[in-house]
Subunit: 115 residues, 2 copies
DNA sequence: TTCCTCTACCTCCTAATGCGAGGTAGATCC
DNA sequence: GGATCTACCTCGCATTAGGAGGTAGAGGAA
């Protein structure tokens, strides 16, 4: 009954934040998004395809992302995603939530003695 | 189909960390644990009973917590929990995981420009 | 040609878990 | 008796990360 790693549970809910974050700096296609997240997190996160693609589709359905297919000269077609205004607002919301959440954890873990 | 708040998803996986943290400073019973978490988080977290009690039972089953029933002079019996050595180790693990995770998010969200 | 590999997309299923709703009981007060 | 508060508990739903498996194009090797 190995528990499925603490990390996996902590990750829940952060995928939209991470995806929107890397797309803030320009359009990318799926694989690239995963790579960027891996790079920028310093290797801490490596989203699996099974979680990344569904998340992208959900964000697109929500209107947070816009996407189109493009040919590649060296492989299959790619689906490029870019962030919309709505996505920008959602990103801000996610950032705020994350900040408040992380602050809450820090405060709780921090000290036994706090008023 | 309102999405169930970002916060609810972020919370996943943090309950053991929060519970073990407040118990590090002394034994408490269920309701008290919830109150302490609420206080210490500055109101950011207010674990529901539906998530708190199952989490306590799981931690106890894992050997991270030890518990016993005691009478109260002003209400129903209470179940007091205290942290074991194993629980201390688990807490350390959760703290480390959290720290690394939060660092990863911070790094990713931080800057478009990082090597 | 045929085969293998790499890129790039996708979906199904399982496991974990927070939460709301609902339920049991003791104690106190009107 | 009835209401209310404390304190415990469980059930079922919804969300979501991940692994496994599947499709398909392009390029190189045998």
């Amino acid at each position: 009954m190995r528990r499925p790693s603490i990390r996996t549970q902590l990750l829940k809910g952060t995928t939209p934040l991470l995806v929107l974050t890397v797309l803030r700096d320009g359009e990318l296609y799926g694989y690239e998004i995963a790579q960027r997240i891996r790079e920028r997190s310093g290797g801490a996160f490596a989203p699996s395809e099974g979680s990344l693609y569904p998340a992208l589709h959900a964000l697109e359905a929500e209107g947070a992302l816009q996407a189109d297919w493009r040919e590649s000269d060296k492989g299959p077609k790619r689906r490029y995603y870019r962030i919309t205004d709505k996505g920008g607002a959602l990103l801000a919301e996610h950032e705020a939530e994350w900040a408040s959440f992380a602050r809450g954890v820090a405060r709780t873990v921090a000290g036994p003695t706090n008023a």
